[in-house]
Symmetry: C2
Subunit: 212 residues, 2 copies
Amino acid sequence: MAPWGKRLAGVRGVLLDISGVLYDSGAGGGTAIAGSVEAVARLKRSRLKVRFCTNESQKSRAELVGQLRRLGFDISEGEVTAPAPAACQILKERGLRPYLLIHDGVRSEFDQIDTSNPNCVVIADAGESFSYQNMNNAFQVLMELEKPVLISLGKGRYYKETSGLMLDVGPYMKALEYACGIKAEVVGKPSPEFFKSALQAIGVEAHQLLSV
Amino acid sequence: MAPWGKRLAGVRGVLLDISGVLYDSGAGGGTAIAGSVEAVARLKRSRLKVRFCTNESQKSRAELVGQLRRLGFDISEGEVTAPAPAACQILKERGLRPYLLIHDGVRSEFDQIDTSNPNCVVIADAGESFSYQNMNNAFQVLMELEKPVLISLGKGRYYKETSGLMLDVGPYMKALEYACGIKAEVVGKPSPEFFKSALQAIGVEAHQLLSV
């Protein structure tokens, strides 16, 4: 492998994950990971383009950015690529009206979306909102469609909180896939389209990118 | 294909499903399917051995049989092969202490089972008990085991109630499989061992059986 200096020579942009890279989520807004506040500040002073790319789907970008700013990060909403706004764009482009199986914290991202008479399901890391009732509602919506469309904000298996491991959206996506005999469309990492939209936002090509 | 008379010539036993064959479940104990009460009575008067084989995992056999008797069926607990008692036998044989992710209606079947300090998870059609909290508890138990054991009472995708389609245990089994990267052991149909135990109970070989 080439030495770091050489490998970094062509780098023009940096894509930073948020949870587990900048901070650990948890009670009271979470805690910044040691050195990360200063690292972001230094990157922003450098010649590199910086973009934040997250699969966070329990919070709106506004809430997430507010939390990070309180922890000392130099970050604004416009610098964040997140699955909820990406999903909204897809919904609008395709005339889809979702049944939303999501956390209340991210609902504001869907304010402009028509959810009447649903013709698809959007599933995100809904936490306690993954009740049997809500899952069954989503299932029934899908089963009544001729071509069921299930959009999943990420497909993570689980994540870590200070209180222990927590089920992420992926297992619930799999549950609905199996129940309906369908395949979900994943919006968020590791979907190539999602990475591409983050790159486009900073005008950087994939081979010029460093991803953390 | 041979004519019915010839095909039935070697038949010595009949395996009858319950839900959807004898009755349709629903509010107020469900309703008998037309002709099924008399069909069971006639089979029992014939030279054929009769066994009831169900994947019902929301009710104990006692409750299920009580319900069917009230609908007019000639049936007793000892004639029913069901996944909960089959699972109990496996738990005892292998020294397994389950975390039970099950419906309260079937809990009495596990009265004799040690559930302290769980070293496996048993999942059944838990209905409203499939809360995020309960699913996460089951997940955490599995993730703390060196060799996670997940036993699923059936793997049905959904079933029909008078109020509409309802998610069965299968989707939740898939969710835990994906979350933990494991494969569940299915107790109940279509597991061959389960059919075998039903056949053994009436002393009939597979080629002598008619299954409805």
